[in-house]
Symmetry: C2
Subunit: 434 residues, 2 copies
């Protein structure tokens, strides 16, 4: 008999079915016992009438692996409306010991460090699992929407010869006796690849040696990167970002069942046909009015200001999203293109989602002499960027792009307090295992 998923059970009432999975829970009542079997997608309720079988199952630690053959019977009281009766149970793999926490409770009853120490087990909890199903769907939606718009996928090296984004926060490596570094972002490579494919994206790890021990920081994360050429300005990049976000949200809505989505606590946002956008200077004017402080001339937005802007976008435009454009050029990375009309401000943007910065992007410079000038102005050595600079000597179109942190995105969608909850095996200053 072919094994079915527990999620297929509701459609199989009246049939004999074979399920396989883990002993999620055994509830022994006086006259009957209920086995909850968990497989890779959901759970099923199995009614155990036979006292001998109940006793045998009672001797197994939770998480033992079972095969269950029985009759699928409609039962209004059962989760999903169908349960399995008159089962034959085969023990495929007996667990050696009792788990350190119960996986059948709505939340694992342990502190986060304990949960993370036991991540290989804790990830089996349906709620935790749902976060990573969401991450999988997000990657699929990201790629699919971009491929549909003519983007090509690239995989760029993570061992690099020099720090890309700045000096201090980079991991150093012993590379056959010499120094090397872990890539902080594929920024320079994706720009190089605009010269090849014009439109590229990458999903891959990025590494930041930032010594910050906060709920928002991890030192290795998954970066969803995009870069595209022949743009008129940053607004074309913003349109691509909206396309990618639509793809992500649609893929999540399709991949997760309503029950699984509910487990994550996510509120999937609607993306308006046009996302509201505000220039940095207008944002400071607006915030000055909202706060009563004179914020004009500030170099950047504080988190409290982003929260206020998020509330304003919701009230004024009914939008969870708000673009802020035109951040001061000197506040952004060296490759940022200035606004040609007023170069003090840039063609860079942030996307604020429910009051928190979610995505950074913008137009990049594309002329060789502009890069030389930027390096000189910022006191950076051009020699570390030889291969990168070569492309600007050989013709580059106006281009731009953005990067989304996958874990940050899932954290914000699910409105979780700690990014480690949605990081598969988080790496931070104090955690390198499992």
């Amino acid at each position: 008999m072919e094994r079915i998923w527990t999620t297929e059970l509701p459609a199989r009432a009246g049939e004999t079915v074979l399920l396989k999975g883990w002993l999620h829970r055994l509830r022994r009542l006086s006259s009957v016992s209920f086995l909850v079997l968990r497989d890779g997608r959901g759970t099923a309720q199995v009614v155990i009438d036979d006292p001998a079988l109940a006793a045998e199952l009672g001797s197994l630690p939770a998480e033992s692996v079972l095969a269950v053959t029985g009759e699928a019977v409609a039962e209004a009281q059962a989760p999903g409306g169908v349960e399995v009766r008159r089962p034959a149970v085969e023990v495929i793999s007996r667990a050696v010991e009792i788990p350190p926490f119960d996986l059948f409770r709505p939340r694992i009853r342990a502190h986060l460090p304990t949960v993370l120490d036991h991540a290989p087990l804790a990830l089996r909890h349906p709620r935790n699992r749902a976060f990573f199903r969401m991450a999988s769907a997000a990657m699929e939606g990201f790629r699919g929407s971009l491929r549909a718009h003519g983007f090509t996928e690239i995989q760029t090296p993570k061992i690099v010869g020099s720090a890309t984004e700045g000096g201090a926060s980079v991991f150093r490596l012993d590379y056959f006796g010499g120094p090397a570094y872990l890539s902080q972002s594929p920024q320079l490579y994706k720009q190089i690849m605009v010269g090849v494919f014009e439109r590229v994206f990458e999903v891959g790890p990025a590494f930041r040696a930032e010594p910050h021990d906060t709920p928002r920081h991890i030192n290795e994360f998954v970066s969803l990167d995009v870069e595209q050429g022949f743009i008129s300005d940053h607004r074309e990049v913003m349109a691509t970002l909206v396309t990618a976000l639509r793809g992500i949200i649609a893929a999540i809505a399709e991949a997760l069942s309503p029950a699984e989505l509910a487990l994550t606590g996510a509120r999937l946002p609607a993306l308006l046909p046009v996302i509201p956008s505000i220039h940095f200077t207008e944002a400071l004017d607006l915030l000055s009015g909202l706060t009563g402080e004179d914020l004009r001339g500030e170099p950047d937005l504080a988190p409290a200001h982003e929260r206020l802007l998020g509330e304003w976008a919701r009230e004024e435009h009914g939008s969870d999203f708000l673009f802020v454009t035109g951040y001061p050029t000197d506040q952004r990375a060296f490759y940022t293109a200035p606004d040609p009309a007023r170069p003090f401000y840039s063609n860079a943007f942030d996307l604020i989602f429910r009051g928190v910065e979610l995505v950074s992007g913008g137009e990049r410079m594309h002329r060789y002499e502009d890069y030389l000038a930027a390096f000189a102005r910022r006191d950076m050595g051009a020699e570390s960027f030889a291969g990168y600079l070569e492309i600007f000597r050989h013709g580059m179109p106006p281009h731009g792009g953005f990067a989304i942190g996958l874990e940050r995105l899932i954290m914000r969608l699910c409105e979780l307090p700690n990014i480690r909850e949605v990081t598969l095996f988080p790496r931070d200053m104090g955690r390198l295992t499992p």
Copy 2:
């Protein structure tokens, strides 16, 4: 006017079109000049009748970025059957200098080290670009075929606390003052995730500090990884591998135009409904007969033997592919499941493609005590594998998987002599940039 791709030009005869791209080549004849414009997808021929425009274009270095508006005219002699006439040309970005090699010749006329030194430019060559279009399609086909079979995508950490596959060939990292390593493979993590999703895949970088300077070795590569649970034995994993390969080949055939595919020199293989399979012991018997040497009792297959088996598969079965199963257990990684009927041999397999090993995989052990025994037998310390071993204490189903090296796959499909040609920015003992 909306810009069209050069590949759309053949369908636009009779229309006024806007193209954008790079000055790929300018051929100045006595009465007329031909501009070949290259964009992210192909090239288009532009006829320049105006001597002043020809002179202006003649002053531009190749790779300058242009916008060309003109009439699309059917012309049997033109590549693709349509050329652009009476053009207006706008210089979007003037190249600073002449490229160190011509990109319009069928092959770049330079030695591989020079090509790799100038990779950001060399990748713009249509043949090189086609290799990476193929890689992009391969990743898409791999993921799509697996998602269609219920697999979930994961992204596992690349900074790890201990070497996964063996001690020597691992890159060491300074992690906030302590030691860490770069992941040699996601093997342990993907097994852990079988306990969560049952079926998982990952596309990501893997790092091997092997000090081998050969045409087949690079020190960072893209690994296409699969792991699945609740298998009967390794043959179910082999079936999944065939599914994935079918997806890869189909996606390549769909994504690349016939012209682009021809540039790569690839011969796309047909996958027979059933791939021939031979047990290791039978392979040694067969090879003994073919070579006249007594090879029975050999611990492994030499490359020359794989070549002979490849020829045999082609002649005997008409197949480019051959599975070899049952390699001696002690020759494989510690997690390899032995054949229950004769444990000296394993449930591991290799897939040989045109006489070269392309993929390794197999069933893994799934019982805690088997791991403890394997660690003891191999004199490995179990303490480095604490998080990994935890899953086997808490119930794991029979499972298995495989890994495909992306660059190795493309190299073999295109029958190239050096893996660096199909590695985006190769990392080897002597190369860390660009």
